[in-house]
Symmetry: C2
Subunit: 477 residues, 2 copies
């Protein structure tokens, strides 16, 4: 990209939508100029963030899941088997109808999600109670023919990075425990991204098509809307009955299995960028950052000593497993600061002749802007311990932000006002008509019942009868 | 799977086709029962092999390439831009024509390869000579509507694991050097899989549609056919002209860029399995093996000591970074041997009460079957050094096999006879009609001119005129 484009200022973060779109380009996350609506291109820098993010997911899942890979194309007859499920997806499915110039005998769906690709195989794989639990996952591209406004990483026609897990269990209760475990894993995953998430049980009208119930995790975006960044579905024996997934129990009887599925997409990256970024650009948690430390030589005249010192610091840091770049380009230091701040590099080290004499460097934190002189003596330990501090600080800041933006509300007016800033928490009697009426009147959605809610008593915000739970209400992406 | 199925013997490897198909299932590489022709399911065990294999590819490319990700769907107008390219692919392309129940305005192709998805973006990304060289790659699913007989990992309708690199250079010569570099990288990659490959320059009628020339690497399969397991294409400025990819050179002129692309697919896994496997099942090189060491406790009566010792050996090995499994199941030792031999685990350790007394174990190599007593004192070093020996031995064995199966031939009859066992090497004058006539008469293909061929003189096998090069001729997959 031309220099002048790069150096144009980012919109202020308070103008979230413009800031987000511009940051995707200037931070080299996604290029939105691909010639099909709703499809975007990962810049190598953005993809590197994606790789580090999904490596954390793999690390967490590999403890007791196995990775696998199923086909993208699902034949129409399999896809059409589960009635509820189709109803949920039929308007959104891309259909392959031709191979070369010939029409296909059976139309093929591009998976919008993989239940109907995977479960015919589970029928073959699950035989006996000894095969259970079965816990598999895959990271794949999935497709939704979105008619709503599309948005990079958030609402896509090709979801490029769908991590979907599909588990099979002997009993309904074991499947329920797995749903809880999925939410625990997702909470931990987002913790590693320094993102606090709010798990809640979705109201029935918002559950996954074909599921008994859905628990989802939401992140609070800077504009006060919530972004659903993970879902876990208890499928009961619904799909097992449709796809005939049975196992021989300890008594030798063939009984239906119980299933769950749970997914996370590149919305995880959207949340990461949006929540931590600031007016200067990206702020990437150290574990995720493609470049963790950038070293800027401060050179007033020809000074090979300084460059040599920078390389030597780089080697030290790399030996400690840190991802480092020396920016020895001919740009002015200010232009370099701008560039690497935009890319969210957690730590900048500035090293000039005077620093060299003191065996020191100027260390600048990306997240707080804090500057201080550090000795080069134990620079690796210094940087590694700072990484820990940055991670904690990013998470605590985001957590405080969420806590400050959850509002107890007891009137519709109050909700309408507060949900421009965040999440309203209101009493609800649990009746569907009250819930739908509320959603209709305030023009926002019930996220759901927070998991692990303490017992509480109040009056339903809609009908005024006794209510023993509170629900989150928010504007959603 | 039921026990009796698992225990049925594998066909002999000399019946390669049956052996291969059966091994995919028994070795838990691919399940072929997915209900669409040409689409298969990776078993978790197979996918683990795939993961380790592609991690090596990433390691090699990441040195000076960057990973990225482009959309699957290519709009018809972009796809149709490069005339030669379309001719090569138009019969094989899957078309998405509908989103939900509505016909799409513009048909979308499932990428058969990504030139036409990537190069419109390269037009935007490449501005100046300072942007060059640009070296990106992605690992994606691609699609070919194969009308020929499909075969798991080898001839697929969904290629699940296509690693494609796309580079841009200032000059034709720099692009040519990159093609050589690609072949060097692939040769190293296959070396890590203990597979010797033969690079050759494809005859013009067999080059990539739209390329100036193609160099490919072939592996020799056990049945004497060759499998193309990597290709590198010099695209000249052909696509640059079509997609208007220009850069400002040092003189300020806009000139066309030069490009290459090169790819490897899951055929790498097909070659791995086929070349190293034997009558007992898979033989996986240590670096790739999902399980590198299996420990079998030999227990005659209740013996927690032995189990404890197995766990302690496991911990030792894991501390050295080795992937280990203790098989403490209730199967007979013989059944365990069968199972883990089928899965190609490089090293088995058997540990019984007597071994325990001697602080020793019986070590069995999967590739040679060699057994010997080893002390548990330095077991990690012992095993790691054995891994090196196994790797070398697998490669040397495969290399010898290839060398013994390349035959200098000087008559058509001789070729016909020899290509049932391997590769014929014949003189060719280089004229297309002689080449095509040869292919026609023997019913096999000219692979190409081996790269780095020493100067040589002979008579063309077809027309008898002077020829200064030899070419490989083989039956191909």
């Amino acid at each position: 990209m031309a220099e002048q484009e790069k150096e144009a200022a980012l919109p202020k973060k308070e103008n979230f939508s413009e800031w987000y779109n511009d940051l995707l380009q200037k931070g080299e996350i996604m290029d939105v100029r691909y010639p099909v609506k709703g499809l975007y291109v990962w810049y190598p820098f953005g993809f590197n963030i994606r790789r580090n993010t999904y490596n954390i997911m793999r690390e967490l899942l590999d403890k007791d899941h196995q990775e696998t890979l199923f086909p993208l194309l699902i034949p129409e007859n399999e896809f059409m088997k589960e009635a509820e499920h189709i109803k949920g997806f039929e308007d959104e499915v891309y259909w392959v109808t031709h191979g070369g110039t010939s029409p296909l005998d059976v139309k093929l769906a591009l998976r919008p999600t993989s239940e109907t690709a995977i479960y015919p195989m589970y029928k073959l794989w699950v035989r006996s109670h000894a095969d259970l639990p079965l816990k598999l996952y895959q990271i794949v591209n999935t497709f939704r023919y979105e008619t709503k406004h599309t948005r990079p990483l958030i609402r896509l026609r090709e979801i490029t990075s769908f991590k979907e897990a599909h588990t099979v269990h002997a009993t309904w209760d074991e499947a329920a425990a797995q749903v809880d475990e999925a939410i625990r894993i997702y909470t931990e995953f987002y913790r590693r991204l320094a993102i606090p998430v709010l798990p809640s049980r979705r109201p029935d009208w918002d559950k996954f098509p074909g599921a008994d119930y859905t628990i989802a995790t939401d992140a609070l975006m800077p504009d006060g809307k919530t972004l659903q960044v993970g879902t876990a579905h208890h499928l009961g024996a619904n799909f097992a009955k449709t796809f005939d997934i049975t196992y021989e129990d300890v008594n030798g009887e063939q009984v239906y299995a119980h299933q769950t599925c749970y997914g996370v997409s590149e919305r995880s990256v959207a949340a990461l960028i949006s929540i931590h970024g600031d007016d200067k650009g990206l702020v990437i948690p150290p574990e995720i950052a493609p470049v963790q430390v950038v070293i800027i030589p401060i050179i007033f005249k020809e000074s090979s000593d300084v460059l040599q010192a920078c390389e030597s610091v780089k080697n030290k840091l790399e030996a400690a497993g840190i991802r480092v770049k020396v920016d020895a380009s001919e740009d002015r230091p200010g232009a370099k600061y701008y560039k690497w701040e935009m890319k969210g590099v957690p730590v900048r080290l500035e090293l000039g002749p005077r620093d060299l004499k003191n065996n020191a460097a100027m260390l600048v934190r990306r997240d707080t802007g804090e500057k201080r002189q550090v000795s080069l003596e134990n620079i690796s330990d210094e940087v590694l311990s700072l990484f820990g501090a940055v991670q904690t600080s990013l998470y605590e800041k985001a957590k405080q932000e969420v806590e400050e933006r959850i509002f107890d509300c007891s009137t519709h007016d109050e909700i309408r006002q507060k949900i421009t800033q965040g999440i309203a928490k209101v009493f609800w009697c649990g009746k569907k008509e009250c819930g739908l009426k509320l959603e209709d009147e305030i023009g926002a959605g019930i996220l759901g019942i927070p998991t692990g809610q303490e017992p509480c008593k109040g009056k339903c915000i809609t009908c005024g009868t006794d209510a023993d739970m509170q629900v989150y209400v928010a504007r959603t992406y």
